[in-house]
Amino acid sequence: MEELRIYVKLIRISMRSRLQYRADFITGIISVLVLNAVNLGLIGILVHRFTQLHGWTVWDLVFLYSMFVLSHSLYSLLFWHFNMMDTYIAQGTFDQFLIRPISPLIQFLGREIQYIGIGDIVVGVAAFGLAYSNKGLHWQAWQWLFFAVAILSGTVVEMSIRWIIASTAFWLGRSLSLANIMNRFNMLVQQYPIDLFGTWFQIVVTVIPISFLNYYPSLVLLGKTTDGAWLRFLPPIVAAVSISAAALVWRAGIRRYASSGS
């Protein structure tokens, strides 16, 4: 609890320092809007020619996209700087964390906040709203509950994957290229139903469970699968497994890093 209090305090400081740069804040938000408009525009143009892609209509695809962006928005707001881990190590910033009497993880997480995530939230909510009304969905309570749980689980899943990638910097010195490959997977999973790319791709993004951000929950929520019963319980389980694995890798990494330095 003490650590949570410190974390909140650190985040507050980061937020204040971020808001010093108001122009950057605004261009950042606009950039996110442009980026998403471009992504959705390209899908729109592709699917404009014919009514569907691999059995998914335009609004199915927008729905798929929006679920990913919503999960991703919370991750990018609070945890995006996992991608910068190798810079923290190279510049010695991480060493400062190690000599203070607070968990280095808390210090690292509290170090930055990415307001870019706010742009993602705007895009995600708008895209979701459009898809929901255009598909004429009328959800019951359990569906809304599942939706909320799936979004939060997705955030945890993406954060865990990035956490593991960040931890590899303890061994490899660099983690940016791995993060870049992950960005590619993200992009594909975000925009297309994963079974479009064949069995192997589907296996990869299920083992690296990035497809739990949007694909599997969408199967349930759009009624695209007959065995949805057990899929309903899967996202939080996957999230729990991912974050545990990530914590273990991180601990091993820190131990190695601290010992090699001395």
Binding site: Y21, A23, D24, T27, G28, I30, S31, V32, V34, L35, V38, N39, G41, L42, I45, L46, H48, R49, F50, Q52, L53, H54, I116, L172, R174, L176, S177, L178, N180, I181, R184, F185, L188, Y192, L196, F197, G198, F201
Partner: protein, 265 residues
């Protein structure tokens, strides 16, 4: 030309340190080529006649679009170097060099691009040809025009990136602007979706903007969608943009240069 080679050599040394990174980059290109292959094959199986070219041409288009990203990624242009140098103050030494700054940036960037072409684009094209259905150019003439068009496309991209670099001198931080810029380039250059599929207004807009010089024109020539006089017109379009953008870049540099000196002094 010697300057280009020396920068290419330097890029090689930098890359040789991180060999693991190199393999990851190659894997990442392969991943994208693979997925593009599936997207087009799947779309064609639904509507074979909807796209104006046959499936082999379209798959070639898509795969080439991904393979060329190693040299056509706007995120690797001189603007990033300029922004870093501004932040660290290293720009001083760049200005002190007995080499025109504009030319220096071109040499440095083109050297890296040559290196990336040899180590990333060629291997990806080989893999694409062997496993994913990337075809040879439509004809020997198309191959020749493609090479010219590729070079012109690179120069257009360089000139645009350089202008963004000039903006960095004024605003000091271009990170978030670059995101918007990169995605606009991606959209209007026809990397993912060929421009002839764009509807009405968007198609017309894409046709006048310089971005189609980057992926759309070279690749369309490669697959034979653009040929004969249309191909030549496209090359002229590219050349005009190269000249115009280099002049604008020159003017911008002259304007910004004095400002930079005043700031430093």
């Amino acid at each position: 030309m010697r300057i280009f080679w020396s920068f290419a050599r330097q890029a090689f040394h930098n890359a040789a340190i991180y060999r693991f990174d190199y393999w990851l980059q190659l894997i990442s290109v392969f991943l994208m080529m693979y997925s593009v292959h599936w997207i087009w094959t799947s779309l064609y199986s639904q509507h074979p006649a909807a796209f104006g070219v046959n499936v082999a041409q379209m798959v070639t288009y898509g795969i080439l679009g991904m393979a060329l990203e190693a040299i056509f990624n706007p995120g690797q242009g001189p603007q990033m170097y300029i922004a870093t140098q501004l932040k660290t103050g290293g720009i001083d030494t760049d200005l002190a060099k007995p080499l025109d700054f504009h030319l220096h940036m071109l040499a440095r960037n083109f050297g890296e691009i040559l290196f990336r072409f040899g180590t990333l684009v060629l291997p990806s094209a080989l893999i694409g040809g062997a496993f994913l259905g990337l075809q040879f150019p439509a004809s020997p003439v198309a191959a020749g025009l493609f090479a010219v068009s590729l070079l012109l496309g690179y120069l257009v991209l360089f000139a645009l990136n350089f202008l963004l670099g000039m903006l960095a001198v004024v605003t000091l931080d271009i990170r978030s602007i670059s995101w918007a810029y990169n995605s606009l380039v991606r959209f209007f250059s026809g990397q993912m979706v060929p421009l002839w599929l764009f509807p009405g207004f968007l198609g017309a807009l894409a046709n006048v903007l310089p971005f189609r010089s980057i992926y759309a024109i070279p690749i369309s020539i490669y697959i034979g969608k653009l040929n004969g006089s249309a191909a030549l017109e496209a090359l002229i379009f590219q050349s005009v943009w190269v000249i115009a953008l280099f002049i604008v870049g020159r003017l911008a540099w002259n304007g910004v240069h004095t400002r930079l000196v005043v700031q430093g002094g």
